[in-house]
């Protein structure tokens, strides 16, 4: 059985598709967006979260580390990512979770078993499983297996994707997906490339393909002030929506800088761009603009 790298399983998600859902976050992403909300999702390896505030100075990590990456001096805990080889032994002995693993290897059966725990809630609300990430397609085979197994268990499925994936892979999962939560990060070609590292043409093409196969979609649009919160981008979104036959609506998600604190725990540098946060009025205006163009809005 295939193993996948999962970094979180969240139950009772009420905004990741219809009804009550369990969202499984898979590690690994093919893009590198400047605004990433889940920086812990980017690398397809198990990483270390370091939260020195939680340390109780027990010294367990220092004792097991063969590379001297942990040091406790005068009640202060220092951790060197340079020396760290990610052997993960320290996380195994840390009782206070000052050092913990991000990401866990799981078999598809293990994941499905966890997801099935809330089956009654899916039935009662029209919910199910949502695969998110990272980018679920960066673990394509695992994703496919999870979706197949979920459907075999009569569990409704959503996949959140950035769309920058091979068409053949999209085609392969289609029979097992009930709804795509499809990211439209930007429609300015240059900007998209600059901020995410990939072009948006293929993304939009794939969206058309998914739609042509009769698959339902919800367009998830991150709103970043000073980047894509422009009349032109909004008009483009409306235009994309209009040309889709099976799109259920557009969801506007305001940029928030929560990702930066997580990046800090990972030792990754990511600038906290508070100026990117759109104001409530700007968001409302954007929503009104789309409503005027007869776009169905998802709250």
């Amino acid at each position: 059985m295939k193993k996948g790298l999962v970094f979180d399983i969240q139950k009772y998600c009420t905004h990741d598709g219809p009804g009550i859902r369990t969202t499984v976050f898979l590690k690994g992403c093919n893009l590198n967006c400047a605004w990433c909300h889940n920086p812990e999702s980017i690398k397809k390896i198990i990483e270390i979260y370091f939260t020195p505030e939680k340390c109780i100075n027990c010294g367990n990590c220092v004792a097991v580390c063969e590379n001297g990456a942990h040091l406790i001096k005068k009640g202060k805990h220092f951790y060197s990512r340079k020396k760290c080889t990610l052997c993960l032994k320290c996380a195994g002995v840390c009782d206070s979770k000052a050092v913990e693993c991000v990401g866990k290897e799981m078999t598809s059966n293990e994941v499905i078993k966890k997801v099935k725990e809330d089956f009654e809630f899916y039935e009662a609300s029209g919910g199910g499983l949502t695969l998110s990430g990272g980018e679920p397609f960066s673990q394509f085979e695992f994703t496919l297996e999870l979706l197949k197994k979920a459907h075999a268990e009569r569990i409704n499925t959503c996949v959140e994707t950035n769309g920058a994936v091979e068409k053949s892979r999209l085609a392969a999962v289609l029979p097992y997906v009930d709804l795509f939560l499809y990211d439209i990060k930007d429609t300015g070609t240059k900007r998209h490339k600059y901020f995410t590292g990939a072009a948006c043409d293929r993304i939009l093409e794939n969206l058309k393909f998914v739609d042509s196969k009769g698959k339902q979609t919800i367009l998830r649009c991150l709103m970043i002030k000073g980047v894509n919160l422009t009349a032109k981008h909004l008009a483009n979104i409306a235009n994309i929506y209009m040309h889709l036959k099976h799109c259920k609506g557009v969801e506007l998600l305001p940029y928030h800088p929560y990702g930066t604190s997580k990046a800090e725990k990972l030792g990754a540098s990511r600038k906290k761009n508070t100026r990117w946060i759109p104001s409530e009025t700007k968001l409302q205006r954007a929503k009104q603009l789309l409503l005027k163009k007869k776009v169905e809005m998802i709250e």
């Binding site: 969240q10 139950k11 009772y12 009420t14 905004h15 219809p18 009804g19 009550i20 109780i56 027990c58 009782d95 206070s96 979770k97 725990e117 809330d118 009654e120 809630f121 039935e123 009662a124 609300s125 029209g126 919910g127 998802i298 709250e299």
Partner: protein, 701 residues
């Protein structure tokens, strides 16, 4: 969600004044005394009736311009839950709460009907002295209620003489409406609502705090008939109910001494929906109009519990979810399928079981037929004593987990035996509660009062508290001491006695690596279930003795705060100062997964064996109920709760930021209401520890 406005501007104005707390501040501190106002050497029962008579004659009458429902309980002492009559400088009789009176049958008969019953019973000529005193005293209580009614008539006549056209018109309508009720049975929806309020409010004026019970069942038929005959429109009926609800805020703003539980809404519980004795769903227009009213006016004064089942109308579940999503804790839910099963299993006839309501909180009883009290047993303390952690106990050795468990069970058995001996004795105060007895079935027939086993069902419930904490602790001990041998029992007990001092690493290990009750994790849930099953097995040995039923329940109702002192620190990683779990909810902070996991853990228990009930108390962040899907998800939670065989659940929709700000600036949050469990309270009226208890509850997203 868009604000709906269906009620009139005037009603909103009336509501605003009521919610401002002005009414509650205007209660009268009246000194009423029996000395010199009551014949000497009469029976206790008659003395009680004199108290009621004096209250009816002396309490100020308050009728406000424009209000459609009248009958204010205007005495300050009543809002302190006291029968406001003294003798020799002391309150003469104790008051009664934790019950729901038989407003259903009283409404149908009117006071005159009750009087007739009393007369007929007397004619049988087989009452002993106590019995005949009781019935004579009951008659006097009815006369007193009539006096109070008559004083309203006179006050209205006076007001009509002295008021302007607009107000006069309403006074005349109100006067006309009270012409025949509550003496005679009502003939219209408006009369029925008023009659019910009169009966309810007179009890409250006399210091007794009863729940109202199944108001939609009581009033639904009247409304249906009036609607059909065109006597009233839906929007007029909604206004009447709105005024009923506003009237219920009469004591709001009264700064009483409710201690920890704040203003506690005076136990005026309401039940909506569910099936009737014949098994037919009674949900009707009254049910929906009441939901409209509380949604629009945000009145929490009547904490409402809705009876849901797998056959509940879709519309009802949707409306419940919509109102719940607004916060304020107005609505809680019962899964009536489990409740009825539990009652029948315990021995109640099916038809009777179907009529269940609560006691003004969430404990289950049969309204109008039950005298109720309960007895708290701190099960977790029993475990702590068994371990030798609790105060004045010394560490004990147990060679195996089963030996430890056996010792615990033996100690629990001793505690339950001792409860049973207490329950054999006098019920509650044993004192007259004649006004109460009047609205409790079988008191007239037996010629015995509420506190003298006169009720059809006299119930003294053993309530286990801290059961899940005992289960959590045992789960940790079994795993770490006996299975993995990470730590010795003596070492663990020492750590607990020292409040975890110097053992932070072990404590962190437990907190971070052990999944406790509330996470849909079978090892912990199975242990809690074992603790529950044994409690049920032991209490099940005496279901009834000496005329007293003993249906078990699980509760703490906030006692976990005062219980801390004796309990000491817990093996599942909590220091002594941290209050442990409330009712049957997870230990605060230990439910790390989701609201769904908590519900699954709770429903894993055999709840149909808890005829007196138990509660799951949850807190949900407002963002998770936002929008259409948020409400749909909440609807799903309610449906799944029924399917998974839950019992009682309430959900506070609120974020901690608001609560913390309310602690800092209470003046900004006077109206902020939270549900504590079976009751609600204004957050700022709670003392600091109780506020903290609400804040500490795990906030699910």
């Amino acid at each position: 969600m868009e604000k709906v406005r269906r009620l009139s501007d005037f009603t909103h104005k009336l509501n605003k004044t009521a919610l401002s707390g002005k009414r509650g501040k205007g209660l009268t501190d009246l000194e009423i005394t029996l000395d010199g106002n009551c014949p000497q050497n009469i029976s206790e029962e008659l003395e009680y009736a004199y108290c009621i008579k004096l209250i009816a004659e002396n309490a100020p009458i308050r009728i406000l311009p424009g209000e459609k429902i009248i009958g204010s309980a205007t005495l300050k002492q009543s809002a302190y839950h006291k029968i406001p009559v003294m003798k020799d400088g002391k309150i003469r009789f104790p008051s009664v709460s934790h019950l729901t009176l038989g407003f259903d049958f009283a409404l149908k008969m009117g006071y005159n009907g009750l009087l007739k019953d009393i007369e007929e019973r007397k004619l049988k000529n087989d009452l002993d002295e106590k019995g005949s005193n009781l019935l004579n005293a009951m008659k006097m209580c009815i006369e007193a209620a009539n006096t109070w009614h008559q004083r309203h008539v006179e006050a209205l006549q006076e007001l009509i003489k002295n008021s302007r056209a607009v107000e006069k018109c309403n006074y005349e309508a109100v006067l006309k409406n009270i012409e025949h009720i509550p003496e005679k049975p009502p003939s219209s929806f408006y009369e029925a609502a008023q009659s019910l309020y009169f009966m309810f409010s007179f009890q409250r004026l006399c210091g007794n705090w009863s729940g109202i019970g199944r108001i939609d069942e009581m009033l639904g038929g009247f409304l249906k008939k009036d609607l059909k005959e065109g006597k009233v429109s839906l929007s007029e009926a909604r206004e009447i109910l709105a005024h009923f609800w506003i009237k219920g805020c009469d004591w709001l703003g009264f700064e009483g001494s409710q201690g920890g539980s704040g203003d506690a809404m005076f136990y005026q519980n309401i039940i909506l929906g569910g099936i009737n004795a014949e098994g037919k769903d009674i949900t009707n227009e009254v049910t929906y109009l009441i939901l409209d009213v509380v949604e629009e006016l945000k009145i929490n004064e009547f904490p409402i519990a809705v009876r849901l089942s797998s056959k509940s109308p879709e519309k009802l579940i949707r409306r419940v979810a919509e109102v719940q999503s607004l916060g304020g804790g107005i609505l809680a839910v019962y899964n009536e399928e489990t409740v009825i099963k539990a009652l029948v299993k315990f021995g109640y006839p099916l038809k009777i079981a179907r009529s269940f309501a609560n006691d003004g909180c969430w404990e289950i009883l049969i309204p109008g037929k039950t005298a109720f009290i309960y007895f708290p047993i701190d099960v977790f303390l029993i475990l702590q004593k068994t371990l030798g952690v609790a105060e004045k106990t010394t560490a004990k050795k147990y060679g195996s987990f089963e030996k430890l468990y056996g010792a615990y069970k033996k100690n629990l058995s001793i505690a339950i035996d001792s409860f049973n001996r207490i329950a054999d004795k006098d019920f509650a105060s044993g004192k007259p509660a004649t006004l109460i007895s009047l609205l409790i079935k079988d008191c007239i027939r037996k010629g015995r009062g509420y506190n003298e086993r006169g009720a059809r069902y006299t119930v003294f419930s053993p309530h286990a508290g801290g059961l899940q904490d005992a289960g959590n602790s045992l789960h940790v001990i079994k795993s770490l001491v006996y299975d993995k041998k990470t730590v010795k029992l003596s070492g663990l007990v020492r750590a607990l006695k020292n409040n975890w001092e110097g053992e932070e690493q072990l404590r962190q290990h437990i907190l971070n690596s052990m999944e406790l009750y509330g996470n849909d994790s079978k090892p912990a849930d199975t242990m809690v279930k074992r603790v529950l099953d044994d409690f049920l097995q032991l209490t099940g040995k005496v279901k009834e003795r000496k005329g007293v039923l003993r249906p078990p329940g699980i509760s703490t109702f906030g006692r976990e705060i005062e219980w801390r002192e004796k309990r000491k620190a817990s093996a599942h990683g909590y220091r002594q100062e941290t209050p442990l779990a409330i009712n049957f909810s997870p230990t605060p902070g230990s439910d790390k997964n989701s609201i769904t996991a908590v519900i699954k853990s709770y429903c894993f228990m055999d709840l149909k064996r808890l005829p007196n009930g138990t509660a799951l108390d949850l807190k949900l962040h407002p963002t998770s109920v936002k929008g259409k899907n948020g409400v749909a998800a909440l609807e799903g939670v309610l449906k799944a709760f029924v399917k998974l065989k839950g019992f009682f659940m309430h959900i506070n929709v609120i974020d901690n930021k608001t609560l913390l700000d309310a602690q800092k600036h209470p003046e900004k949050y006077r109206g902020l209401s939270v549900r504590i469990s079976g009751w609600s309270a204004r957050f700022v009226t709670l003392n600091k520890e109780w506020q903290q208890m609400i804040i500490n509850r795990t906030l699910h997203k």
